[in-house]
Amino acid sequence: MIVADSKPLVEIAPLLAGSRRVLVLGCGGCVTVCRSGGLAEARELARRLAHPEFFPAGVPEFRVDAIERQCERDLLDAYLEAPPETDAVLSLACGVGVQMVSDALEPLPVFPALNTTFMGGADEAGLWREKCRGCGDCVLAYTGGICPIARCAKKLLNGPCGGTSNGSCEVDSTQPCAWALIYYRLRKQDKLHLLEEIFPTRDWRPGGGSGPRVRRRAGVAGGPGDFR
């Protein structure tokens, strides 16, 4: 899931200076589950922003809504309706949703209320850890299901750096060394021989190094090809 954090109010409020009617728009996807951008957070953000301390010249009228996903254009076109006279939108989606809503409601200004942070998994209820960088060329089959690109601070592909210390990372000693985790996982799987393979210099183009990535799935939504 995409994990995002709330921006500070003092960063958000100046973006809305001069606006009179603001739509605070939550997203029902990832950011609802990670408790940063759902309907509840949108309501709370509107409540906290509606204070003269942030708007000495007049507090805008805040209206709150949410849509199931802000990241699908046709869904937005069909079901997102900005209330009349809305002059700004504050989106609590990830960066994808903010851009999609910007496109759908152009030329209405759409501002981000969150900092999109990482793709992660919930190791415990309420605790998300980064697990994937979307590199486009997955190596998990060779690393015991532990990603060195997302979980090693240096993204090393051929074992730990010299700073690994008793299983901890030298960049942040509260974090485990990904390569220590990989070693112990492979040892349990009796696959330590995989560590003897050398990963060649990596081609980062599938990871976005050659520009934004685009995928079209054949057969989806009436497109060409057989979906099943």
Partner: protein, 135 residues
């Protein structure tokens, strides 16, 4: 009201069933009738059905905004002074043996008011809240 609804343009072509990535749609042909089936627990509300329907028959708005389901109805205890809901009878029964004093039928404001009166007028403790709620 069902979450997955189609309007009378539905022809039963099964495009939605064939394309649902979550296998949340199915159908049953029985005698002279075809019935479209939907399983809400499987449904990802991805909208693929709505997109592929060649007749715009799927009323996707009911999967975006719909009614609340009533889940359980329990006996409620209200503040005996002002009538504000305090807790359910079942909650009181569940926690009474771990509470001192016991869960009582007073809201936080009137519990606090009674405690203040008890400190100020120890002899009149418990008699300060005379405006009992008319029931």
């Amino acid at each position: 009201m069902a979450y997955f609804q189609v309007n009378d343009r539905c022809t039963g072509c099964l495009a939605c069933v064939r394309n649902c990535p979550a296998s949340a749609l199915d159908y049953r042909d029985e005698g002279p009738q075809r019935t479209l089936l939907h399983n809400m627990t499987r449904c990802a509300r991805c909208g693929t059905c709505w997109r592929v329907c060649p007749r715009d028959a799927i009323e996707f708005q009911y999967l975006l905004r719909n009614r609340w389901d009533e889940v359980v109805t329990l006996e409620l205890v209200r503040c005996r002074v002002c009538g504000e809901p305090v807790h359910t009878t079942r909650l009181a029964e569940a926690v009474d043996d771990r509470l001192e004093p016991l869960a009582e039928d007073l809201c936080a404001r009137h519990r606090s008011q009674r405690a203040s009166l008890a400190v100020a007028y120890p002899l009149a403790a418990g008699k300060g809240l005379k405006r009992e709620r008319a029931s």
